[in-house]
Amino acid sequence: MESIGVLMACPMNPYLEQELDKRFTLHRFWKVPDKSTFLTSHSNSIRAVVGNASAGADSQMIEALPKLEIVASFSVGLDKIDLAKCKEKGIRVTNTPDVLTEDVADLAIGLMLAVLRKLCESDRYVRSGKWKIGNYSLTTKFTGKRVGIIGLGRIGMAIAKRAEAFSCPISYHSRTEKPEIKYKYYPSVVELAANCDILVVACSLTEETRHIINRKVIDALGAKGVLINIGRGPHVDEPELVSALVERRLGGAGLDVFEHEPEVPEELFGLDNVVLLPHVGSGTVETRKAMADLVLGNLEAHFLKKPLLTPVV
């Protein structure tokens, strides 16, 4: 398979890069000085694109690569891939579900605990020597708080399972009610927000879910409510979120994703009720290796004409 051209959209994982280099003719898109010339001159040899949450395969790229057969995403999210175009052209698409479910759910709970119990703030308090002068202020209990989950897919369910162990009543909103699920369903996000203490975004990003967290939802969640986003930045109207936090109309937020990563609104930096992470939902040694192996497994299966491991299209 060494002559098969594979285009890697951006740096994502050294192990994956190495393995792709070994098995295929790997082109690193971020090292290319003139991207459009590159696409034109390699249009006949590139048969696969490997993307991730930052860079995928948009309509323009797909059109520029007539021999493209498969887009293998190093992510479970597909918002950076023009799925309709892939379907139209018979291009296969794979992602990395399941292997990262636990890590993302763990991080969601970690964010909840960090925000409510002010873990990072109190760690900073100790490191700055302030404990010698006085005790840290009281925080908020996590156990028993009502958790509202938007999107009850693999990740949403894993978050629910964990939160239940903390005696958190679980409710959710999704496109349709799931009759086999015992959690309370709310037909609108605003109603869900009004009836929970911690609102978690765990759905996929589509045109419908863009800015699903808007001013109305934030108002419903309220001055004692906490927003946790482990989905995608564009799920949230970021300027609205920032002013709600700065004006104390929202109780707190734990955010792993932002609208324009790696840029993060600076107004959030000084807030003690906000925890900000650099999109590390699946960022563990164990999980990134498993994701990389899944990308490689899917590519090999495709080129060996075997069934894809985790096809989306």
């Binding site: 964010l111 960090a114 903390f166 925890v275 650099p278 990134r288």
Partner: protein, 314 residues
């Protein structure tokens, strides 16, 4: 009961102070109206109750100086600052605040484990200092599925186990004796427990036997990929040994809520990225503090009304 003297040993919670002031004649040991010897000369006979906590309790000296002391009500579940022997000897009742703080302490324990393994505080600092623009941080470690070893399977240890199970963690434990009604694997020796788990959690009571229960041998057994979480008492851990193990990379990381000489924390730890250090906040939430205070008040009222104590320590 307004003429019953109650001595509060140190500041704990304003709400508790106010409640005590409203019902009793409250003396604040940190804010005496006269010198200590004068104070005791004048008031020691009228003091029938002491309210202590994890910082200042009721030691032999204090108990001996209060001839009419009937009850020590601790604003804590831990009893290591109370001379229980002396209280028993003199027929002094002792109460603490179990159950109401179990969830908070267990929550903090899981929070510390997640914060250490997933580098949550490091990441938060990274973003808030504007460094994400310059590139990503390295990878962290997965929490789900790790093996968790709990020292002490009481109320708090069991609550930690229950939460960890939801993360598909394998649970094992060490305690003075094996507990009949659990499915968790028992180790009669703490070194064996440490050798067979990736996250070791201290959740037992501090007694003479458990002083420095986490020593060099235990730390070596836990190893360079192991994590120690201490939500018990600082004295459970040989702190200098812990510090050198962390500095030398012989221990993978630590999440600590307690230290041997609070509020002093070993300086060498302050620069480490594989530790999370919090200022003894295990039960410090608005909800739980109030519940603990209410329990202290209820125990005192019950005692002075001749009713059954709510949470006596036997």
């Amino acid at each position: 009961m307004n003429n019953i003297g109650v001595l509060m040993t140190c500041p704990m919670l304003e709400y508790l102070e106010k409640q005590l002031e409203a019902r009793f004649k409250l003396f604040k040991a940190w804010n005496l109206s006269s010198s200590k010897p004068d104070f005791f000369k004048k008031h020691s006979n009228s003091i029938k109750a002491v309210v202590g906590d994890t910082t200042v309790g009721a030691d032999a000296a204090l108990i001996d100086s209060l001839p009419n002391l009937e009850i020590v009500a601790s604003y804590s579940v831990g009893l290591d600052k109370i001379d229980l022997e002396k209280c028993k000897e003199k027929g002094i009742n002792v109460t603490n605040t179990p159950d109401v703080l179990t969830d908070d302490v267990a929550d903090l324990c899981i929070g510390l484990a997640l914060a250490v393994l997933r580098k949550i505080c490091v990441c938060d600092q990274f973003v808030k200092s504007g460094n994400w623009i310059n590139g990503d941080l390295g990878l962290a470690s997965k929490f789900s599925g790790k093996s968790v070893g709990i020292v002490g399977l009481g109320r708090i240890g069991s609550a930690i186990a229950k939460r960890s199970e939801a993360f598909n963690c394998h649970i094992s434990y060490h305690s003075r004796s094996e507990k009949p009604n659990t499915n968790y694997k028992y180790y009669s020796n703490i070194v064996d427990l440490a050798a067979n788990c990736q996250i070791l959690i201290v959740a037992c009571a501090l007694t003479e036997e458990t002083h420095h229960i986490v020593n060099r041998k235990v730390i070596d057994a836990l190893g360079p990929k192991g994590i120690l979480i201490n939500i018990g008492r600082g004295a459970h851990v040989d702190e200098p040994e812990l510090v050198s193990a962390l500095l030398e990379g012989r221990l993978g990381g630590a999440g600590l809520d307690v230290f041997e000489n609070e509020p002093d924390v070993p300086e060498e730890l302050l620069a480490l990225e594989n530790v999370v250090l919090v200022p003894h906040v295990g039960s410090d939430t608005e909800e739980t503090s109030k519940a603990m205070a209410d329990l202290v008040i209820s125990n005192l009222e019950a005692h002075f009304k001749g009713e059954a104590l709510l949470t006596p320590v036997t």
